[in-house]
Amino acid sequence: MNFARIKRMLPSAKGLLGINARNLNYIYTHNRRACFPNIDDKLRCKNLLNRHGIPTPKTLGVIDGPRTLINWQAYLDGISEFVIKPSRGFGGEGIMIVTREEREFTNSTGPISTDDLEFHIMQILNGAFSIDNRSDTAFFEEKLINEPAISELISTEAGGVADIRLICQHHRPVMAMLRLPTRASAGKANLHQGGLGVGIDLATGRTNGGSSRNRIIKKHPETGIDLAGHTIPYWSEIIEYGSQISEIVGLGYVGVDFVCDANQGPMVLEVNARPGLNIQIANQTGLRSVLK
């Protein structure tokens, strides 16, 4: 192995971005701490985005104290599927997807009593899942449904909602990927839990291959479908919304998570101030080569 070949193999030669460089050159310089609450608090973030005309999943009810806690079931009249979320949660902790038939509730692990649901809400209020363990607010959110073009890519037993991660530097989208839940990830789209990352060409919105954990893959390991060549629906809207987010939340380097809902089109699920780096594997491209 000669020196030139080693040099070609260095991460910097591939334009890859590491954690140290991401923190030093993008997060610390682009993202002011004072603006973090704009996104750490999901309810606040949703309000902020809605005011600027960016759609987010509908909030069905907010539980922020004893009065709302006593009447929590009143928010759910006529709702058969909903999500319970902590407003200042992090890493997806404390999120519970619930389906309801009359007075019977079911979550991912099976039937759940109203007492247990209420206990989970109390846990959220007590700050068990909040980013700094301070007391928190819980809210109910409508459950989104995958756009058919996207649900085709998910194995039927996996369930769960796919999302699209768009990394933006100021108003400029720089890289995107589709995250697919798998059986292995138990319906979650988190990459480190076994979800698939599928790279997306920014200009066309077409997928161009994928990744599983840290590996590059061509076909979906569970369905065998070729991961490249699929067009993401509503791509121009996603790019349009994404390019406004940075200015709205006051952060210069963000990861925006979209869901393409079958009925309502693209919506922003949440905004992340420390977007992960595995998007580079999904796209087989380094972030350094596209960032300014």
Binding site: M9, P11, K14, L16, L24, N126, H192, N214, G252, T285
Partner: protein, 535 residues
């Protein structure tokens, strides 16, 4: 909302480390050049904390316990002695050149524990014996008795005399050649066996085998038989840990001084640095009233102490940090605690390097360093073992409490309570079984352990037990390295003598803090991108 880009101060990040290095070197230079600092003065010598624990039960009648105590001599220093006596009368006295502690009571019932602890510093001493020294030498009256036979050293017995004759001791010209003959016979002529009772010189000779006591007594018998005053030495071989065994060697009176020989571990006219003298002659180390269900053990712990001479030399200097330590000592802050505090910024280096340069995932940022502090009391291996046991216990409690679905903070409090109870039981068990290192588990940082249990359980719940165990192992690894740095004796001495070293450490942290290169783990993470051509 406006989005601005903040730049770091290139000026500050480049000038700050330089200033820190400059200040540190200037201070060190000033102290070395003008205050007479040198490493010899600040490097601390090894010492041992010797703890003797005596347990017994009184049955209403009188009790007396006597313990031989180490004394200052040319090869050893004895410092900071303390005695625990409970309700017994206590005093020390001298007898026959030895020093003893005596505990007495006219009548007591129930369990009592007596303690003696001291810090001892021992050093190696070699003696040179003049080759021309004749076999006849002037012998002062007061040691003339040490030429005579006694119960265990039957130097006048006919079998000993004929052994002396067969070794040719009477015909030798110099005392040195006689001593060498006796020593070699004790080393090679007698087989070494482990035997815990008292073997006298004659028995050792008849059996042709002996332990340290028998070998030494036979040497003494042959010495006395050929006109050299000889005495036994009882002591301990210093090494960390706990034991009841003592060691015996012998001293010959040669040209006005007592010269040590150890036929068991083969030291000729030399006392090694790990020998501690407790008494001379046929003296029991411990004497006590019968029928009191008596138990005892020694525990030894290696630690560092400042050399008295070095301390005294530096005492006058105004910038002397050692004076500061003395001040702290007056405020009843232990030197050990200060040593932990001052080494912490260096221990953290392990955390920073593993996190930012290697990319290792641990429980919490500084948790490994805090765990390392816990290891200081238990030692590394036992520390890791105890930590694992407590973590496993805590995780079990966590799983059990999980099924009750408790609120976050009370659940943490429950884990903490059980961790405390578990640790106290371990301590009680340790004291009962006589494992002092186990007993010291009580000094483990409990809150840290509780938080570790919580993190461990969370990771186990979210990503599985394999992941949780992996992070636990990595945390332990980082903690072990931090412990290694903090317990490194030479480094400790340097930092205590030159605390300005900490400024250099800060400079290192500034450099690592601006390192935007890849972490080692990222080469693994991105390996599939690195080995194929860029798109």
């Amino acid at each position: 909302m406006s989005v601005e880009i903040r730049k770091h101060s290139r000026f500050l990040t480049s000038i700050a480390p330089a200033i820190l290095v400059l200040i540190a070197s200037a201070m060190a230079f000033y102290k070395i050049a003008f205050l007479g600092y040198n490493l010899d003065a600040v490097v601390q010598s090894e010492s041992y904390l010797l703890e003797t624990v005596i347990d017994f039960d009184g049955h209403g009648s009188g009790v007396e316990v006597t313990l031989a105590l180490p004394q200052k001599s040319s090869n050893q220093e004895v410092r900071d002695e303390s005695f625990g006596s409970e309700d017994l009368k206590f005093g020390t006295y001298r007898s026959g050149g030895n020093r003893f502690a005596r505990w007495r009571s006219d009548g007591l019932s129930g369990h009592r524990q007596l303690n003696y602890s001291t810090t001892v510093i021992t050093r190696n001493l070699r003696y040179v014996i003049d080759t021309t020294l004749p076999t006849q030498q002037p012998i002062p009256d007061e040691i003339g008795g040490l030429l005579l036979a006694d119960e265990y050293t039957q130097s006048d017995h006919s079998e000993i005399t004929s052994l002396a004759d067969s070794l040719g001791l009477s015909g030798a010209k110099s005392i040195l050649s006689n001593i060498r003959t006796i020593y070699e016979y004790a080393v090679d002529g007698l087989k070494y066996v482990v035997y815990s009772g008292t073997t006298d010189a004659l028995t050792a000779h008849r059996l042709g085998e002996a332990s340290c006591g028998g070998k030494s007594r036979l040497m003494a018998a042959l010495g006395r038989n050929s006109g050299i005053p000889s005495r036994l030495v009882g002591g301990k071989i210093l090494s960390s840990g706990q034991a009841r065994s003592t060691h015996i060697w012998v001293e010959f009176y040669i040209a006005g001084q007592w010269v040590p020989f150890c036929p068991t571990n083969k030291y000729f006219a030399e006392i090694p640095s790990n020998y501690l003298i407790l008494y001379h002659g046929e003296v029991p180390l411990l004497k006590r009233t019968k029928d009191i269900n008596f138990k005892y053990y020694f525990n030894l712990r290696k630690r560092l102490v400042s050399q008295a001479a070095g301390l005294a030399k530096l005492k006058e200097h105004p910038l002397n940090i050692l004076n500061v330590w003395t001040t702290f000592k007056r405020a009843a802050i232990s030197l050990e605690l200060l040593r932990i505090i001052i080494m912490l910024p260096i221990g953290i280096l392990s955390v920073v390097v593993f996190r930012n340069l290697i990319g290792v995932e641990t429980f919490g940022t500084f948790m490994p360093a805090l765990i390392a502090i816990g290891f200081r009391d238990t030692g590394l291996i036992q520390g890791i073992f105890l930590f694992t046991v407590i973590l496993a216990f805590g995780a079990t409690i966590r799983v059990a409490s999980n099924r009750m679905q408790l609120l976050h903070t009370p659940r943490l409090a429950i884990i903490l309570s059980f961790v405390v109870m578990f640790m106290l039981s371990l301590t009680a068990l340790g004291v009962h079984l006589g494992f002092l290192n186990l007993a010291r588990v009580a000094l483990f940082p409990m809150v840290i352990l509780t938080l570790t249990v919580e993190r461990f359980s969370l990771i186990a719940e979210e990503s599985g037990w394999i992941d949780a165990v992996r992070v636990a192992v990595l945390t332990m690894l980082v903690a072990a390295v931090a412990y290694g740095l903090m317990a490194w004796r030479l480094l400790q001495s340097v930092v205590i003598g030159f605390p300005e070293v900490l400024l250099l450490v800060v400079a290192i942290y500034i450099y690592i803090g601006r390192y935007s290169g890849f972490r080692l783990a990222e080469y693994v993470r991105f390996r599939y991108l690195l080995t194929r051509p860029s798109r």
